[in-house]
């Protein structure tokens, strides 16, 4: 393939390395160092996409992050990546890309009919057109709009790429490697500061790569290369290219996305695709430069119309001509630099300058090069559909309102320059109150909010000499504050061409009888007439105009459109721009991959996984696991083809008939020590704790200050001033914080220490009528009789050489013991229990059987202690001391809490004794009542009672105390079930609690 628009020499590309790539199915070639955009332009391709609303042809407008048009779907390493800017995507061998937002193809796009119907798509048309009938929105309008609008297609596949996060600290973060960034980073580095220099492009140097200047006795480009290589050699400096600092957050935290592998055909093994850096900087130097502003005229979105700085960049960096008959349309001196560059390469440009008679070094140089310059001239409209073919140009009157001598001239591209807009996004995100600078018609940073310092053209300084001088000074001054070192750096001398003032002109009036579309926002298709309409319809605030017209709301965030939009609003409203104000700059400055934001926290890595010491045994014995908070717990141990229901039923039954063992390692454990430990317990639990003897456990309930039950568990007095507290698995961390809160802040006079010991102990609950037999064989020397180790007793024992704590406590309602050993011995304990229990038919049981056992016993757990219930609701009022004060006690006398028909936990049995009641069902009196059917309460937990062999549920219902025996209905609208039920006692098995004491 020929590259007809590539110059024979020049540019920073490597012509020895040819690269072949594919765009919309056609093969092309470019060179190493190209972007997809520069390679396509070299091949004469200017039609890359279709616009968002009208499906008008779209080409290239810029050469970097500001690009509003050229977004493509990239195929890389079998992955399809949407919305990649062709101006940023570096070329690699075998690259494949496609146009987006067009069908059937970019050349013939059916959606382009919108362009001819555009009178029906004015600003706010979504709000006006699709309001009626209402039901049409979801079924008709929304799906159609969704299909017609939008850009790339997101792959439905799991993203296989690896993304990383990195946390970094530095003294100075410098964002951008143009002249101001290099000078300030260099000065700071010389003073010994830790510096990070970030550049979003692959090449360092910023404007120095394309401007004709000299610094010292080198060209700007050479100077930049020397500074960069010196910085790279310094141990206190980190230099990063392809890295965009996109967000400035609180307390000088900045986030940078580093594209590590996007420019390669595929990601190398063991390297990430992208890395997100969280950087905490002591000082932030914003050297993000400026972006050229467009001029607004008829059909200014035609492919071939582009920023003059971009045209220059394609020429100087890539050796590519954006056209062979260029028309330069400018209101300032920058356009001349592009014109001269064309001329030097043998192309004759025509310059239209809106100014009447500017005089400066560069204008004179252009004149002396015999460049055709027309002063007081404008482009009225671009002609051509898929590419600029000619332009209507005209002389403009001094008041810039009248056009005369309209003529058509041939050209194949129009390079526009409407002066420069400082890139103030990061400063604004920091909280900097920006101010409007009349001289440059743009906002510049004002008073710093955090530690941000803005340099160079980002601050509106457009001469190299001043930029270098101030940047060296700032870099030195700020780093000296941190390092207390100052090295002498002399600011090099600079040779640059002086510019004269720009013309405060940005929008060409429409000639009489013409209705050209003049675009402000190229990505969202917002034109001058749209904004005018919004203002006519009464929108005043710039924030409202923005949302109504979508001006500046596209993925480029209005980098090229915001200021022209503001100018228009201020012109129409007869206000000055600072009165209109600008919309808020929010991070990210450029789009960031979701993958990079997520980092490695996906799938199994999204949260830590905690496993008990017996986990491997469970795995070997066919446990089916369930997430319990961050823990993995066996739900049941599968035998043969059993399902969950059959397996858990078998396990629960075996506990009731023989003996079972359950891994209870996950229970929260808190070690409490100190002379005031009993007093602390007495204050946090609702029941009395001062008289608990050593060697005894007690069940306790703790409340929040608002009277709601926070957690329950048993606490055992190990010795005089030493207690072992257990909490539920879910609340372990909260309870520890709760205790620390009261000890550190409310009652600092209490002499108590608390520490989590959850992971120090492995626990096994041995439950069932034969549990004592198992325990006796485990601890042959211990007296484990009902007298020797009574219910709620505690004893320490020796389990075949291993120290063990034995608690006679029960969650299942059966005679039961919990044995704790140090975690390392957990597996040994478990295997011993299984070995010794064999003769008693011991079986392990999982959380499902555990739930079944506690539900049919009427023991409340997390589903009843749900953050909405008080002790009474859970039938725990017997544990509430009347004699002493405790956390939350005062709240219990609130009128709602003592209402006679207060809700209470009850048992629920289906009348047919067959139909299981879905958890979450409502309990209602009348199943056929008119909606909304008053609900009495809800079903909190359901099981299949192994004792009665029928379904049984717990429910919390209004006036539960007086509802026993009533026939009601359980309704589950979700499962579409209505089940007639009877309310029974919540203690469905062993209501007197004899088994635990047997």
């Amino acid at each position: 393939m020929s590259q007809n628009f590539r110059l024979d020499k020049g540019g920073l590309i490597d012509r020895s390395k040819s690269i072949s790539f594919k765009f919309n199915g056609k093969n092309y070639s470019g060179y190493e160092g190209d972007t997809l955009a520069s390679a396509l332009i070299a091949n004469g391709v200017h039609l890359v996409g279709r616009s968002f609303k009208y499906h008008r042809p779209r080409g290239f407008f810029g050469a970097g992050v500001d690009e509003p048009y050229a977004m493509v779907q990239l195929i890389r390493d079998n992955e399809s990546i949407p919305n990649v800017r062709a101006t940023e995507q570096e070329l690699f061998e075998g690259l494949e890309a496609k146009s987006v937002n067009c069908w059937p193809n970019v050349d013939f796009d059916i959606g382009a009919i919108n362009n001819f119907l555009n009178r029906f798509f004015p600003a706010g048309f979504y709000y006006k057109t699709f309001m009626w009938p209402r039901s049409f929105w979801y079924k008709v309008y929304e799906p159609i709009i969704r299909k017609a609008a939008g850009f790339g297609v997101v792959s439905a596949n799991h993203d296989q790429e690896r993304y990383e996060h990195k946390y970094e600290y530095c003294d100075l973060l410098v964002t951008g490697s143009g002249p101001s960034g290099l000078a300030s980073a260099y000065a700071a580095a010389q003073n010994g500061a830790r510096v990070i220099l970030a550049e979003d492009k692959s090449r360092f140097g910023g404007s120095l790569l394309t401007s004709e200047v000299s610094i010292g006795n080198q060209s700007g480009h050479e100077w930049a290369e020397n500074i960069i290589s010196e910085l790279k050699s310094m141990p206190n400096v980190t230099v990063k290219n392809r890295s965009q600092v996109f967000g400035y957050y609180d307390h000088n935290m900045l986030v940078m996305s580093e594209r590590i592998s996007d420019h390669l055909p595929k990601t190398n093994k063991y390297t990430p695709k992208q890395r997100l850096w969280y950087i905490r900087a002591k000082e932030v130097l914003i050297s993000s430069g400026s972006i050229e502003r467009p001029l607004v005229f008829g059909n200014n979105d035609t492919p071939g119309v582009m920023l003059s700085s971009a045209a220059k960049e394609y020429l100087k960096i890539f050796g590519v001509l954006v056209g062979k008959k260029p028309l330069i349309f400018t209101n300032n001196d920058s356009g001349y630099e592009t014109a001269i560059e064309f001329k030097k390469n043998g192309i004759d440009p025509i310059v239209l300058d809106t100014r009447k008679d500017p005089s400066s070094e560069i204008v004179n140089e252009a004149k002396s090069l015999n460049i055709d310059i027309k002063f007081s001239y404008v482009v009225v409209a671009a002609k051509g559909y898929k590419k600029v073919k000619s332009a209507d140009i005209a002389k403009i009157s001094e008041d810039k309102k009248q056009l005369s001598q309209i003529e058509n001239i041939n050209c194949d591209c129009i390079c526009v320059s409407g002066f420069w807009t400082p890139t103030i996004h990061l400063a604004s995100q920091s909280g900097n109150k920006t101010k409007f600078n009349e001289e440059i018609d743009a906002f510049i940073p004002g008073q710093s909010k955090q530690n941000e310092t803005v340099l160079g053209s980002a601050k509106g300084i457009f001469t190299l000499e001043e930029t270098l001088k101030t940047s060296f000074e700032k870099g030195s001054e700020l780093s000296k504050k941190i390092t207390n070192k100052e090295s002498n750096i002399s600011v090099p001398s600079v040779v640059e061409k002086k510019h004269t003032n720009h013309d405060k002109f940005w929008c060409v009036p429409l000639p009489e009888g013409k209705n050209y579309k003049r675009f402000l926002d190229f990505q969202n298709d917002v034109s001058v007439s749209d904004v005018e309409l919004a203002l006519r319809e009464g929108y005043r605030s710039i924030e409202h105009v923005k949302r109504y017209t979508t001006l500046g709301m596209a993925t480029d965030q209005g980098k090229t459109s915001n200021l022209n939009g503001l100018q228009l609003v201020s012109d129409v409203e007869n206000k000055v721009v600072p009165q209109v104000g600008h919309t808020t700059f929010r991070p990210p400055y450029t789009p960031v991959s979701i993958g990079a934001i997520v980092g490695r926290e996906i799938g199994k890595h999204s949260k830590p996984t905690r496993k008990s010491p017996m986990h491997e045994w469970h795995e070997k014995n066919n446990a089916v696991f369930v997430d319990a908070g961050v823990w993995l717990r066996p739900r049941y141990y599968k035998q043969g083809n059993e399902n969950l229901f059959e397996g858990s039923k078998r396990e629960a039954k075996n506990v009731r008939q023989n003996v079972g063992v359950c891994d209870v390692t996950t229970l929260g454990k808190i070690d409490i020590k100190g002379p005031d430990a009993a007093e602390l317990l007495n204050r946090v639990y609702t029941n009395a704790w001062l008289k608990l003897p050593v060697g005894k456990a007690r069940y306790g309930v703790m409340l929040r200050e608002d009277g709601i039950v926070m957690d329950d568990g048993t606490t055992t007095r190990i010795s005089e001033n030493h207690y072992h507290m257990t909490t539920t698995t879910a609340q372990a961390a909260n309870v520890l914080s709760h205790l620390e809160y009261y000890l550190q802040l409310v009652w600092p006079e209490l002499n108590v220490n608390v520490v989590s010991s959850t992971e120090q102990w492995a626990g096994a609950a041995i439950a069932g009528p034969k549990s004592r037999d198992v325990l006796q064989k485990l601890f042959p020397d211990l007296d484990v009789s009902n007298e020797g180790l009574p219910f709620m007793g505690y004893v320490e024992g020796n389990l075949f050489g291993v120290n063990a704590k034995i608690f006679r406590i029960s969650f299942s309602g059966e005679l039961a013991y919990e044995v704790n050993v140090e975690s390392d011995n957990g597996n040994f304990m478990w295997e011993k229990i299984m070995e010794i229990g064999k003769e008693f038919n011991i079986q392990p049981y999982g959380t499902e059987a555990l739930s079944t056992l506690r539900i049919e016993m009427g023991h409340v757990a997390g589903s009843e202690l749900d953050g909405r219930t008080i002790p009474y609701d859970n039938s725990l009022e017997g544990l509430v001391s009347k004699k002493k004060d405790f956390i939350g006690k005062r709240s219990l006398s609130k009128s709602a809490y003592v209402a006679p028909d207060r809700q209470k936990v009850v048992g629920v049995v289906p009348l047919d004794k067959k139909t299981s009641i879905p958890e979450g069902s409502y309990i209602v009196k009348d199943a056929k009542a008119k909606l909304p059917n008053p609900k009495l309460g809800h079903v909190s937990a359901s099981c299949w009672s192994v004792e009665h062999d029928n379904p049984f549920s717990l429910a919390i219902i209004k006036d539960g105390k007086n509802m026993i025996g009533q026939k009601l209905f359980a309704m589950s609208p979700l499962k579409n079930k209505t089940i007639p039920v009877e309310i029974v006692s919540s203690h469905y098995v062993d209501p007197k609690g004899e088994r635990v004491r047997s």
Partner: protein
């Protein structure tokens, strides 16, 4: 992300801490009569100031100490941090 100076450990990122609400609320003493109004104020009523706010944080992934932070709720500026037993 805020940068908070734990009075015991020094400057750390916000993700090591957890927020604990208004630090100026005093719990009524145990075993003392408290009116309904006073109790409700203690349990439920909190000021939501725009500007300076003295609040509690716990260094949950560090020393586990509760401490006080004087922060501007509008700008996130942190003026100072104090140990639990220190008063402004």
């Amino acid at each position: 992300m805020l940068h908070i100076k734990c009075p015991h450990c020094g400057l750390r990122s916000q993700n090591e801490f957890s927020y604990g609400g208004d630090a100026t609320v005093k719990r009524p003493e145990l075993n003392k009569e408290v009116s309904d109004q006073d109790w409700d104020n203690f349990v439920y009523l909190r000021k939501s100031p725009r500007g300076k706010h003295l609040e509690l944080w716990q260094h949950i992934s560090g020393c586990r100490q509760w401490f006080k932070v004087e922060r501007d709720t509008l700008t996130h500026e942190i003026f100072r941090t104090l140990k639990a037993n220190e008063e402004i």
